[in-house]
Symmetry: C2
Subunit: 242 residues, 2 copies
DNA sequence: TCAAAAGTGTTTGCAATACACCCATGC
DNA sequence: GCATGGGTGTATTGCAAACACTTTTGA
């Protein structure tokens, strides 16, 4: 390892000289998944200090030549092996002492992945990755617990006025899966007939010919989300509300 | 002006040596006000380069010893002369080329001020400050136009499920003022009797004995927002919705 | 034939909408 | 008196909640 010394009169010049990362700024990702009718978060076991060996949010530093959304997308792809996931910024977290030893402000994104459509990678900065129920999280370092709480609260709010829940389901799904998704995330039960009617009246689902297989009861019709219809309805002033 | 040279092997050490600011990070504030039945934004005429003399969002740099919320509150106070304004983080804006010459990521907060309860200061970084209708904004530098659009969209969303509109009205106000606030921000008209009933049924307003004075019509009763009742209702699961 | 979930029908009550209308005040 | 906004009353409509019911499938 070589140590290079720069003679610099201020940060700006040092910064523009550097071809590497923006140092006091990181990105972290809260990756949500839905498995076994439960909302889960993907955590990484840290392979570097501080908090070596502790389950934490996957993150990284922002490079000088990429915007923060791209930095987050890069981290997401490194972790899940999938490009183009649903992703949205949660905000910046900047308590002075949130990271030990030096001042690091982090910009957090939350992402949604469909079951089975990811491939957990073992990145260079972690030795292991796993899903954890949001209700049974392990101890996480720094302010990650606060960040996850905040992400969950944002997810709940967003689900109420944007049809983003489909990003947590397979492309083809029965109506009950959608209902269970909402029930799990909001922690309430819905009446099945009423839930069906409410969803169907929105005209956002395309009924498929396919049906469930291998279930010990009458097999349900599968549906897929009609994104193009949602976009055109939204333009006309349609407001999604749950 | 003195120029100091540091010998530093990397950012971290330079950073911890510095007692000043976190360089590639700024805060900007979108300050909303409501005057003449119109939603307005407070802009500053920049007194430094780049964009000298251009109307822009008030902002500043984050100090090493303050968290980002405090940095934003400081900027807000410098600009308005008022402490403890309603303030919430909008997010981080980090396009690579958003600021000319060097890479600056900014964390944006939006704030709401009550009419007459501020005192526009002329800070060291600006020669002038003024309110502008959100529908008639001047040309702003960098990505400030995009930031304001984003803040407005967040404000509209928040108004729908949090009673934050009261932060744009005087402490005592007639019901029509509240209605005009919603009408101006959402760009729609409401039926007066129905609006009254909807608001009153929430039990969030305390009717006062005071009435309007000096109006050329029957004077309206004044109300004030009952924050403690809102807090206790929220704990019981009450959901504010407009 | 039973369990379990799919899916339909129907009643009820509340709440949003759309107006019609009277009240108080300043000019 | 009249213009302006304050404030009340009421019929209508749509929708959400509640729940009873039939259908289909695998074990």
């Amino acid at each position: 390892m070589t140590i290079t010394y720069f003679l610099c009169k201020n940060f700006h010049q040092f910064a523009s000289m550097s071809n590497d990362i923006i140092d006091p700024l990181s990105v972290d990702c809260v990756i949500f998944g839905f498995e076994d009718a439960r909302l889960k978060v993907l955590l990484y076991k840290r392979s570097i200090e501080p908090a070596f060996g502790v389950w934490a949010l996957p993150g990284g530093f922002i490079r000088y030549d990429e915007n923060i959304a791209k930095a987050s997308a890069r981290v997401l792809e490194e972790v899940t092996g999938v490009k183009g996931l649903f992703m949205e910024q949660l905000g910046a977290f900047g308590e002075v002492d949130r990271f030990p030893g030096r001042r690091v402000i982090t910009v957090v994104y939350y992402a949604l992945v469909k079951p089975g459509q990811y491939n957990i990678n073992l990145g260079p900065n972690a030795s292991d990755a796993d899903w954890f129920e949001v209700k049974k999280l392990p101890d996480t370092p720094f302010d990650h617990s606060k960040i996850i709480t905040s992400a969950l609260s944002r997810l709940r709010r967003q689900l109420k006025y944007k049809p983003i829940g489909f990003n947590l389901l397979p492309d083809k799904f029965p109506l009950l899966a959608l209902q269970e998704l909402y029930e799990a995330i909001f922690g309430v039960d819905f009446d099945k007939p009423n839930f069906r009617r409410k969803i169907m009246k929105m005209n956002l689902l395309i009924p498929l010919q396919e049906k469930q297989t291998g279930v010990a009861h009458r097999s349900a019709r599968l549906y897929k989300f009609d994104k193009s219809r949602y976009d055109s309805l939204t333009e006309k002033g349609f407001i999604f509300e749950m």
